[in-house]
């Protein structure tokens, strides 16, 4: 399956054929349809897609954060060889130690009722090793200095609502990395923040992941950010992967019409041209999808699109789920 991909490192995270559904009051909803995704050690992988594409659900499925009772899942999520899907205890054992996560809105993600210190201390205790109060304090301060917080003491004594979004973002990164996890899942980091702060966040994550050897699964709807950050990119549409490949190829030679349309929707700084956008809207989540989900919005759709389309491998580990993709000879 991964024969066309250059093998650089072992798979840290391997998701195969992951399908997910929720039962809601309006009926069952399918949110993921057969996702295959891998993250190798120390790799920075981006999962990109618009709202409703299922990228955040994927992240939460990996973390085991979905409500068990209302979720129907099939497939497999393996982390360092261990199966996590349907095994909440396994996932829980990894959370905060082996796998960490950063959320979109840092200020809302920190509990406003407890000081940063109280929360940080719990995170450190989660690391497993027994620390004296003094040692824990030292580690917290060091972790905060690592994210360029000059006065850790003050920040530790504060509450999230007293700090700016950027500062909270850095605190959250420090917490995410303090136990040197193997995988960091970043769900739209910095989206709620200003561009300069977002830029700073990305730089910091990049630097720290390099230092710690942490792999990153980066989830974003912002193509620009993805381009700057990731080594490899997965593009999602309506709960399925439509394209996968090295970042350079995705942005210079996208294969899937959806990826191309998405790129064409981004306003360009160099030219005052009106971006084209994508006509139509996402398919109804309550109805089953047959064939290529993008078909109704695609200018290239043909009758063959009505049947299931698998990811077809292109050059350089580049794959896309489109009937128009011609595999290299």
């Amino acid at each position: 399956m991964s024969s066309t991909r250059p093998v650089e490192a072992p798979d840290l995270l391997a998701i195969s054929n992951l399908s997910l559904g929720f039962s809601t009051l309006d009926g069952p909803v399918r949110v993921l349809r057969g996702i295959d995704l891998t993250v190798r050690a120390q790799e920075k992988v981006a999962l990109v897609g618009e709202s409703g594409s299922g990228k955040s659900v994927t992240a939460r499925a990996i973390m085991g954060l979905l409500p068990e009772r209302r979720t129907m899942a099939s497939g497999s999520i393996r982390f360092a060889g261990r199966e996590l899907l349907g095994r909440p205890a396994e996932a829980e054992a990894l959370r905060g130690r082996e796998i960490s996560m950063i959320f979109q809105d840092p200020t809302a993600s920190l509990n406003p009722f407890f000081s940063i210190r109280q929360q940080f201390r719990t995170v450190i205790a989660r690391g497993g090793a027994r620390h004296s109060a003094e040692a824990a304090e030292q580690r917290m301060r060091q972790a905060l200095r690592d994210v360029s917080i000059p006065d850790p003491e003050r920040v530790l004594g504060s509450y999230s609502f007293q700090l700016s979004g950027g500062l909270n973002q850095r605190v959250m990164i420090a917490m995410a990395l303090v136990n040197t996890p193997k995988l960091l899942i970043a769900d739209e980091p910095g989206t709620a923040l200003d561009v300069t702060v977002q830029e700073q966040t990305l730089r910091m994550m990049r630097r720290l992941s390099q230092q710690n050897g942490t792999a990153i699964l980066f989830i974003s709807h912002n193509l620009g950010v993805v381009r700057q950050f990731a080594d490899r990119v997965y593009v999602m549409y309506a709960g399925a992967l439509v394209e996968e490949g090295p970042v350079q190829r995705i942005f210079t030679a996208p294969l899937h019409p959806y990826t191309r349309a998405l790129l064409a929707s981004v306003p360009r700084l160099a030219r005052p041209t009106i971006p084209t956008g994508i006509e139509g809207s996402l398919p109804d989540r309550l109805k089953p999808i047959q064939g290529c989900a993008f078909r109704p919005r695609c200018s290239l759709s043909i009758s063959a699109c009505a049947s299931e389309v698998a990811l077809v491998a292109g050059a350089e580990g580049h794959r896309a789920a489109c009937v128009h993709v011609v595999p290299p000879a």
Partner: protein, 347 residues
């Protein structure tokens, strides 16, 4: 920008609450004063009985100041009330404050104990419900709280009395202390507290046993409300990003439910408790009746039936002051639980 922990914030917050509380007490005093005097029936005639002559009635009216202009009566009343002088009860012919000094601590002790039972078990039920939302512990706890709310508390009082006093003979039926025991030296008027202060542990045990049934039956209907509110809030908190954050960072589910999610969820519950205290003091009447609890609520109802003006006004004022004080105390608690109130400047 990190704001420094400002005690001044708490002080300003408190000052605002006290100010608002004083306004409430003022409003209550005007309202009840006018209401009490608007009631038909001449309190003087009622007090003196049918045999009294018209001149006697007139004299008592004059003594009570009932023929003065209403505003003057009110000012006189406030002047007295500030010195804790609410006049004389027409029913017991004692200073109202002396009657209240006997009844209020008893009612307060009952209401506080009920409030505690209500808080502890309500929050417990609510937290269990929320943690196991839509699963059987949730359903059991919801049914339990519905059963609790489906009976008026005086019926609960009777049922509990029959169960634990009539059949099981586990707990006493009436009063605050057994006849053989001497009340501890009066400090707060709360027998349990006074017993602790005096180190009379046997008395404390006896007082607690007497308190158990009235407090539980008084707490039951409110308990259901607390449980429901706690459940709602905790479900809400569970849906917040910071709970997801806690899970993602490996905080244990138990710790989340007893610490990280519970504390934020308690704020509205506490606020409800503050407002419930009046209901507790009011409903206490019915429970006090069943358990012959020597409280103020019974006194208050008796006073209303007998048009004992001074007693009515005093009881209502005391209740409203208790309401205000307890609510300020709760606001203070909340401000310590919720650092946003403590630390954030009003913006």
């Amino acid at each position: 920008m990190i704001r420094r922990v400002r005690l001044a914030n708490v002080a300003a917050f408190l000052a605002a609450r006290v100010g608002a509380g004083l306004l409430v007490v003022f409003g209550v005093s005007v309202l009840i004063f006018v209401l009490a005097r608007a009631m038909p029936g001449d309190p003087a005639r009622l007090a003196l009985g049918p045999a009294a002559t018209a001149a006697q009635v007139e004299r008592l009216r004059a003594d009570m100041g009932l023929d003065e202009p209403l505003l003057y009566q009110y000012v006189t009343f406030v002047a007295g009330a500030l010195r804790l002088d609410f006049g004389t009860s027409l029913f017991t012919n004692r200073p109202v404050i002396a009657d209240l000094a006997y009844g209020f601590p008893a009612s307060l002790e009952l209401a506080l104990a009920a409030g505690m039972v209500m808080t502890i078990f309500g929050i417990l039920l609510g937290a269990v419900s929320a943690r196991f939302q839509n699963r059987w512990p949730d359903n059991v706890s919801r049914i339990l709280s519905l059963i609790a709310v489906a009976m008026p508390n005086f019926v609960w009082a009777l049922i509990l009395m029959l169960l634990f006093a009539y059949w099981a003979e586990l707990l006493p039926v009436s009063g605050r202390l057994s006849e053989r025991l001497q009340a501890p030296p009066f400090v707060t008027g709360l027998v349990t507290v006074d017993a602790v202060l005096a180190g009379q542990w046997a008395t404390l045990g006896d007082a607690l046993r007497h308190l158990a049934l009235p407090a539980v039956s008084l707490s039951l209907p409110g308990l259901a409300q607390v449980a429901r509110l706690t459940r709602t809030n905790m479900v809400d908190v569970y849906a917040r990003p910071y709970t997801e954050f806690a899970r993602a960072y490996g905080f244990s589910e138990r710790e989340i439910s007893v610490k990280w999610a519970l504390r934020p969820a308690l704020i509205p519950t506490f606020t409800l408790l503050g407002m419930q205290i009046v209901a507790l003091l009011g409903n206490a009447f019915l429970v006090e009746t069943v358990f012959a609890w020597p409280g103020m609520a019974r006194y208050g109802v008796e006073a209303i039936l007998r048009k004992d003006l001074n007693a009515i006004v005093a009881v209502v004022m005391i209740v409203s002051v208790a309401f205000v004080v307890i609510n300020i105390a709760i606001d203070l608690c909340v401000s310590f639980i919720d650092p946003r109130i403590r630390l954030q400047s009003a913006r």
